[in-house]
């Protein structure tokens, strides 16, 4: 009986890992202003997922409070942006996502991850 329970629990854990890390997304925070503050701390970007309007310029203000060297760069691969984040300071990165879609930003090693979700403005034809 125990053996069956342990195996079932193991399979459940695998399902949870797949679902939580790959299938589902953090809730996106909709950008209300042109400047969005992003906190870099404890191996994460907060908020991790930001919704913006496609084609519109936004300023992402990264405040780095994480001393790990992993946090020293932020890379927007699709947008060709690489920036150094100075410890304890905020660094502005101005981006204009050209078209709707997801723009992942990561540290150099892809361990810190966040995403910028560009949406078409409501009412504009697709």
């Amino acid at each position: 009986m125990n053996i069956v329970l342990v195996n079932l629990a193991g399979i459940a854990v695998i399902v949870i890992i797949v679902w939580w890390f790959w299938m589902s997304q953090p809730t996106a925070q909709r950008a209300r202003t042109d400047v969005i503050d992003i906190l870099v701390e404890g191996g994460t970007y907060t908020p991790p997922r930001i919704e913006v309007e496609a084609g519109k310029q936004v300023t992402l203000r990264f405040l780095r409070k994480d001393a790990s060297p992993c946090a020293e760069k932020v890379v927007f691969d699709k947008l060709g942006i690489n920036a150094d984040l100075a410890m304890g300071e905020s660094t502005d990165i101005v981006v204009t996502p050209p078209e709707p879609g997801e723009y992942i930003f990561t540290c150099q090693m892809q361990m810190y991850r966040g995403s910028l979700v560009a949406r078409r403005e409501a009412g504009t034809p697709s």
Binding site: G10, T44, A67, V75, D77, N82, M111
Partner: protein, 740 residues
Amino acid sequence: MNTTRLSLSGITCAGCVSRVETALNNVEGVVSASVNLAERTASVEGDVRPDELISAVVGAGYEAAVLRGLDDESEKEAAEMAHYRRLLRKALIGAVVGVPLFVFGMAGLLPELDNTAGRIFWLITGLATLGVLVYSGGHFFTGAFKSARNHNANMDTLIALGTGTAWLFSMVIVAWPEWVPVSAQHAYFEAAAIIIALINFGAALEMRARGKTSEAIKRLIGLQPKTARVIRDGTEMDIAIEDVGLDETIRVRPGERIAVDGVIIEGHSTVDESMLTGEPVPVQKQQGDEVVAGTINKLGSFLFQARRIGKDTVLSQIIEMVRAAQSSKPAIGRLADKVASVFVPTVMIVAVVTFLAWFNFGPAEQGVTLAVVTAMTVLIIACPCALGLATPISIMVGVGKAAEFGILIRNGDALQQTGRLDTIILDKTGTVTEGAPSVTEIIPAGDWSEEQILQWSASAEQGSEHPLAEAIVIAANDRQISLLETERFAAVAGRGVEATVDGKEVLLGNQQLMRERNIDISSIVDAATALTHKAQTPMFVAVAGNAAGIISVADAIKEDSKEAIRRLYDLGLRVVLLTGDNEATAKAVARQVGIDQVFADVLPKDKAEMVASLQQQGQLVGMVGDGINDAPALARADVGFAIGTGTDVAIESADVTLMGGSLHGVSDTIRISRMTVRNIKQNLFGAFIYNTLGIPVAAGVLFPFIGILLNPMIAGGAMAMSSLTVVSNANRLRFLKARS
């Protein structure tokens, strides 16, 4: 246009914001000013001196100071040092708890769990280990939790899960030993503590090693002086570099570093530009010449006017470009990125599968313990960092190293492509040659000396603006020959010039001119023909009806072109000379520098097509040009090399900018590229092999065959060392030497 950032004090409300903004906007030259109330900072755009902005803010009743840029390396270094010490301290605390447990455990001196005293000992040990997990490993747990909340998993997740499992499992054994068979009753507190110690220690070492990878950029930043000696209203004063305004007059004394870019308005000197161009010989500078920030004034003293300040100086642009290139990734690293992004959850799944496999099929009496230990070892040994770090860290060192040689590489892709080139097209003028005509040879007739010939011809030509005449006058100046007085000067169309110098008739021109004036040139005419074959333009000189000799002018081949081209051949490249000049000249130059393939009479607009046609033959083509009229060809080529000289770099136009004028830069770039790509491959190979071998071994695949199980502490050590190895391997690139 510059952006100046000010930190403000005294502002408390929206009203203050608008008052400060109005005050700043009223300063002449300000294009826009905005105040951030939360940060208490102002950001001002426009060409304006910072002290004017500060006085405007003060005038509005507040206080302000210029926010220094992020380039304050000493501050950054202090912060890094503090972090380094913190990591070492954490490692030490972990070791203090873990190592004695490990040593006494190995010696069999630790109590068993079957008596109360033993259980109390283990309970206390468990609490001490918890202390280690909280103090030395707390950041892994908070990091793991925060990323998990964001549906993300990283290194912290693996470390926290691995050590957390070890601790929890050990506590369960201590609390309920009856749950597992006696033979499997083993607590893993020492493993948890030692793993945490090792990972902190590894991170500290890695940080140290990583600091070295950015040495090149630090050196560039270090070139920027902190102060400048400006002259304001007739008084000289030393001010911070950020406060220097456009058009200000700056004094540079012997041995000083030049603060901003500008033009000399008084005095002369020699300037060492080697840190920007890689060229060791100092350059003569006089009134009207440009000087650039970061270079060192040698013996003279001069005044110059600031023309480019702050982020606009050549040095700042170079720093910016090197920075951007250092953090870009070439195609070779993309696969590693893809793997890294799904790595951690995959490893977690592998750990669960490992647990289940041992639990179900492992030896019955140790099943649970082995299942937990192997799963934990899998979590600990996996190292996505080495994988993710493999490419960027080598690019960082490679691009930085290139910058030290005066080579600016635009991005990682350009770096990777350069090493794979198989054809190099060299533009002739300005690339292989100096780009401007100069006197190359003087052949005297009869008793004449070279100096005399130069003196008479330069005197005759001093009023002319023809490029050939200019070359002769410059040659006379270089040899410090004083010119004679010229009374009459006239150009003879298609023939040359005639002038009356010091009362004597001087003729300077071609064979036809000499014949028409009945000058006997029979003794030197063969020499002239020989010069023509060497792609030079010989001019006969006659003074008072007698032949004096020949002055030969040519666009001289750069001193080191021949050697540099030989190096290109040595690297196995096909070299092609491309020029708009006629075939005879082109071939003569090609012969002298040892190039066997020539495309002559090519119009600038057709250069790009030549590149394309070679590409259609399946060649990967590098084009080297001076960056201005060659722009389309540079853009068309797989890698465009712009040859510039420190001061007027066409930074924007090419994939690779050679700041020094030498062609050696091309083969240097190719060498650096090949070494860097090889380094990346070693790193990627190492990281992939490490993970693909390490994880199965940790999972215990060798156990059924040869009875080997990996100790989780060894896994922790291996993990801690794996990214250090990658960083250290990249650091080897720092020892790369040019021209060997």
